[in-house]
Subunit: 261 residues, 4 copies
Amino acid sequence: MHGSDAKSARSKRFMEKEGRAEAFKQVKKHGIDAIVALGGDGTFRGAVEFNKEHEIPFVGLPCTIDNDLYGTDYTIGYDTAINTAMEAIDKIRDTADAHDRLFIIEVMGRDAGYIALHSGIATGAEHILIPERKTDIEELVASLQEKERRKKLVNMVVVAEGDEFGGANEVAKVVKERLPFMDTRVCILGHIQRGGSPTCLDRLIASRMGYAAVESLLEGRHNVMVGILNNRMHYTLLERAVKSKQKISEEWIKIVKILAS
Amino acid sequence: MHGSDAKSARSKRFMEKEGRAEAFKQVKKHGIDAIVALGGDGTFRGAVEFNKEHEIPFVGLPCTIDNDLYGTDYTIGYDTAINTAMEAIDKIRDTADAHDRLFIIEVMGRDAGYIALHSGIATGAEHILIPERKTDIEELVASLQEKERRKKLVNMVVVAEGDEFGGANEVAKVVKERLPFMDTRVCILGHIQRGGSPTCLDRLIASRMGYAAVESLLEGRHNVMVGILNNRMHYTLLERAVKSKQKISEEWIKIVKILAS
Amino acid sequence: MHGSDAKSARSKRFMEKEGRAEAFKQVKKHGIDAIVALGGDGTFRGAVEFNKEHEIPFVGLPCTIDNDLYGTDYTIGYDTAINTAMEAIDKIRDTADAHDRLFIIEVMGRDAGYIALHSGIATGAEHILIPERKTDIEELVASLQEKERRKKLVNMVVVAEGDEFGGANEVAKVVKERLPFMDTRVCILGHIQRGGSPTCLDRLIASRMGYAAVESLLEGRHNVMVGILNNRMHYTLLERAVKSKQKISEEWIKIVKILAS
Amino acid sequence: MHGSDAKSARSKRFMEKEGRAEAFKQVKKHGIDAIVALGGDGTFRGAVEFNKEHEIPFVGLPCTIDNDLYGTDYTIGYDTAINTAMEAIDKIRDTADAHDRLFIIEVMGRDAGYIALHSGIATGAEHILIPERKTDIEELVASLQEKERRKKLVNMVVVAEGDEFGGANEVAKVVKERLPFMDTRVCILGHIQRGGSPTCLDRLIASRMGYAAVESLLEGRHNVMVGILNNRMHYTLLERAVKSKQKISEEWIKIVKILAS
């Protein structure tokens, strides 16, 4: 069930008209009636182009660790990624606690803060910095200082790689300068977040969406992305899906603020 | 984050009036203003009784590996349990595949089939037997026979302990009798399904529900169970919550039937 | 790296002379110069027979979860099995602690107690019952009773399936009869112990032994089992290897006795 | 079993004479008869100083993830660290394979290459760079180029942080410059390698060594580090232990060379 056997990287040739024409030739040659494509924004953009030029029923399944696609509460791969991040942060906490160190931990998410938000809440991080909110570094420094004064143990800040301030290394630079007495370390979780055997939820979502994709094709509903919204199947036109992003809910932002105080 | 430090078992004395009176005395003595109780049916029944006799704001959080509580799509602990079951079944599959054996695997669920359903789908079990559906043993035997004839590799049947037929051992007895040429084994996953470090989803649900519980108390909404329905917070009166069970959705039943064919 | 792709079960035809002749024909046809066989007793017995009848260089690698082969301190697969057992028992302990229950846990080992011994010590089991020692059930009952009296929390007994008394169910029967006030449960870990992704030590031992196997063939040392004894490569004639078992060291037996007191 | 509850960091005050005198006062005050100290070089150096100034029986247990202590084949914590590193690298390989990328992965080991060596072999890394061997960057580049030419998939180089060249970032800089057509990425595993629940081997070694430590004290064998050499208990004078390092065996170096060719 590992991804190891699949060559699932994007093809550069498919980004050009001739490449897509060649792809369509292959599709016809192999008698393929319809395509179910797994991917994110890039994949769906390609699908939209492909469909303008060639006629073949198309359904997309949302498949990205960033969980930022419009029209679905879940993307396949997300639950696995946050569990991997959480387990790694749990391990870092062991050291943080034993040594009273402050760890600035960077998780994936260039444009989306979901991984940081959820892995940070799940591991009890004191501060979580995400692209969707301004990173107020003065506030962060003041809060760390205040907690230090109150002898409150603070040891983890989780930062999305795309946070406004520029990721964990940039944040750590300021913290080290302003709070030099703190033993501050940086951990960048990196590509471990993209691999591993899928969690149960990811497999269930994939089963449910795969089933819906086939049904959708049978019913003649094409050029849509299958999603799950509020626990119900939901279909978004691919053209629409690639134009927006899922927003982070106000509810989570409130929970983060409470944790930080 | 392991459960190891908490003595979270039920108290027998609380089941009697005097026990509850004693409990209320303790609550008053320690200046406790409100109670947030984590548990399932039994806990909430106790809370309903307690509230009839003593006045204290009460909020319940759904906490059971069975995922069968009315008024919520998730219960705290469920996601951890199905991931544990799934990982165990993944390991059994290694042997099943290497030896062409048929494994009849029993998972928890005396009255509820959710663990069997979800861990079975996630691991690609060919048949899934649950309390909510009649177990047609003749159909199962015929299906195994037919697949054998078509040389289709069949190696896993997942059974909830409370399936109509009486669990994995009973099912295996019939299969061994009727299909003696099959190398059939039984595995009962048992109590490993109740422990372990919680998954990210379980921690997130717990955070979200815990936050809602406090809000609920502050807003004067008492004697309710906090739930998440269709991705939104939902409050069910405890008296109502203990009277019904969550049903298994038709959508999942359909997916199981397709897998079995 | 899962075993899922390999059909590694034993062949019945190989147990007969004609089957082995057919196997040799295949070996010659494919231009195979030498055989490195992974397995346990059964595999090596087959190898000894094969070598009496057909001439081909043979080297065996010890590969069994039981760790009971003569001539080596490690067998490939053992470390993975004890880690799987340990992680399962860790999860059971969560429940045991929360409910003050006594769990009688059965691990694999029909003739060998290594899995019980090592997983039991690693999880802090109070008693460990193995085939290599007489199971004094009276002593066990008395010890549980004495600990109960001293309010010492006792909650786990680990039993090898081949212990003298007949496994966890048999032990539990007596305990329940004699100590009915104890909340006693049985868990049989079963086939989960045979699967899973290999641990680092198992992969390292396999690399080291595989390297030694090739070297051994190049140097003309045939019909031996490669082993690691006292951290050095060791070669045992296959004929010799199948005649004895690895014994459990006195050192471990002493540690078990201390734990139980 | 997590390290989270223990404040196991080193004390700065203990590095000075007055600090040690104060420590001895505490030891006497609490009626402590003997000390079993878990740690590495630094701990044992402190113990040697302490013993020069104050009389108290002392036994050291080797406890470091680096596995580089003289007088023992294993150190407590090492097996957990290499399994953590291996699991992380397994996950990175999923991406490496899917995208034909080259990952330069840095593991811990400022002065010792054991973690890199063992996690690299266990995950099938093509090249492993360690402090104990000169890092021939020209050879590495040439080898990557040659493999590229032969269309041999090469995707992982494991580097100890203390390798001669200066760690993964430095190595990657040269590789990117010289082989710009390769999609090269860096992953630094960092502090996840220091935490987590201990593996079975680590718990067993700790039990065995702990038992030996007590025996050693009872027998009057003081100021030694308990070790396991060639599968037997071994005692090294602390003064001696802190003067040398464990060397990496020639056998492993040979295996690494074969993997790289």
